[in-house]
Amino acid sequence: METLGILGLFARTQLVRSLSLRRSWLVYAFTLLPSLVALVIATHSRRNNAEAIATNLSWFVFLQVVVPLVTLLQGQAVISREVEDRTITYLFSRPVSRPAMFIGRSLGALAFTLLLLLAGAALLLFVASHGSGGKEPAPDHFPLAPILSDGVVLPLFAAVALGAVAYTLIFAALGVFTKHPMILGLAYTFALEGFFANLPGSNQALAIQYYLRSWIAAKGSDAWGRLEGVNMIDFESPGKVLLKIGLVALVALALGSWRIRRKEFVLSA
């Protein structure tokens, strides 16, 4: 019970502190950016309708850049920010279970990234829904985006949630294992993921993006099908996507908890 209490305390504290604008202005800025771009396109472009704007921005910008960046900034900060700020000493000289601390903070970071990214995705869809390309709006399907179909909205929300879970916990674990989680996270996000996701065959499974694409490809409407990279063969089924993402999350938590138990953080004077 004590461990659960500590876990909850860390999760709550991490979430509440992350919500502060002063602390997290950068992630707020990243999350808002696609919506700003959508606003510009929706108000100026006659060529593109709501679905085209929503799917393009979601696929190329939100899922492939914003989700990894935001989760990286939040996930790697779970431990490494404390080390960088030299406040880890306070936590490690208290009678708390280190794994509970790590898991609690990771879950707090995850709660924040989920909230933020889902809100960001909702805002993006809302703004994109005002782009009609000169056509009549389609019947109302979803409260936030009256002219976007469920085949756009729900798959996007699910893909964002899956991405947030996987990335946040992977980067949180990375922060325990290495002194430079940001560099490795950026290398994984912008170099390795792109490389693996575009390889044919089983190498794609090494990229989280592959599973997000699989979900979109399986659950998304035809609106997604026009995007480059969606209509590829050998995607995973939704059930396997859920299973593998869940596995990745659990393994990341387990590895991070195992490593932090014996990790020394030597702060220079």
Binding site: V37, I53, F60, V61, L72, S80, L186, F190
Partner: protein, 308 residues
């Protein structure tokens, strides 16, 4: 308390204090020294170095075959030499000029990595550790401070683009029969230098501006790389959505490619996509990014000078 003097310990200063001069120089030297102190990040220079060696060799082999000489003397009886085969292939490949352009486009990415790694903490860490208090307690102007930070970064970025380009051009010049590379394609050299400088100056200005906006090197790194990735992605996406290639101007790398196309006249070369948007506008957009970066730098440095 009894008064005492200790003139026997100190000797009076003889000479004149230097006035004016390049006050940024010591700062630049120490910035470079600090940057090069850690050995592991020097691995970032490995891919450009390896690529330089490979390209230089291919260029050398091409010219060696063109001139009819065996690039591997002493191996005449061994049948067709491997070098001859490579040279033959190279001779059929794209021209040296195209190779240099392609090389620089590839090296731009590594230059970005190098500049981002070394540059993202230059101002951010000064702010975080309050080292700027030391700098601005000296007679150091904002320009001195910024030059002291920017010039070493330019030098490091040039290590990935300009220097390899110079090496390849030198090899080409010496290997070409009758100095044909200089006489027939000499403009490639100054165009290569210009392109490299533009590329490095743009990237370093932007990275340094990002560094001045945050207090953490990690954040600056994320923002810097995120900026390049986002603008590239957005540019390509909008160009595709609107079927207007001009949207590629949003991306810094898109602009650089257009400038390279303009400088080296790539439209006429069949292996590259044609670039259908205005070169002038590309220069304007790129210039606007640089101006914005330096405005941000001056603004942020002013805050450091005044507010502490």
């Amino acid at each position: 308390m009894k008064a005492s003097t200790h003139t026997e310990i100190y000797r009076p200063f003889v000479g004149e204090l230097a006035r004016g001069g390049m006050r940024w120089r010591p700062l630049a030297q120490s910035t470079l020294r600090s940057a090069l102190r850690k050995k592991l990040p020097l691995l970032l220079f490995a891919p450009p170095a390896i690529a330089t060696v490979i390209f230089s060799f291919i260029v050398y082999a091409k010219f060696a075959v063109e001139s009819g000489s065996n690039p591997m003397p002493g191996a005449q009886d061994a049948g067709p030499s491997p070098i001859g085969a490579i040279g033959g292939m190279a001779g059929n490949l794209i021209q040296v000029r195209e190779m240099i352009v392609g090389f620089h486009m590839a090296m731009d990415f590594f230059a970005l990595l190098i500049v981002a790694w070394y540059g993202s903490g230059l101002i951010a860490e000064d702010v975080r550790r309050k080292a700027y208090l030391l700098y601005f307690a000296r007679p150091l102007t904002r320009i001195d401070y910024l030059l002291g930070k920017w010039l070493p970064l330019v030098l490091l970025g040039a290590g990935a683009t300009l220097l390899p380009g110079v090496v390849i051009c030198t090899v080409a010049a010496f290997a070409s029969p009758h100095w044909s590379f200089i006489t027939e394609e000499g403009d490639t050299i100054w165009k290569m230098l210009l392109y490299s400088l533009v590329s490095v100056c743009v990237q370093t200005s932007l990275i340094l501006a990002v560094s001045s906006l945050t207090k953490r090197k990690t954040h600056a790194l994320a923002v810097a790389l995120g900026f390049f990735a986002l603008t590239a992605g957005l540019g390509a996406m909008l160009a595709g959505m609107n079927r207007e290639p001009g949207w590629n101007m949003l991306s810094v790398f898109g602009c650089l490619k257009r400038i390279a196309a303009g400088l080296f006249d790539l439209k006429r070369l069949g292996h590259f996509r044609s670039f259908e948007w205005s070169l002038s506008w590309t220069w304007i957009v790129l210039g606007a990014w640089v101006v914005l970066a330096w405005v941000v730098l001056f603004w942020r440095t002013r805050r450091l000078e005044v507010n502490g």
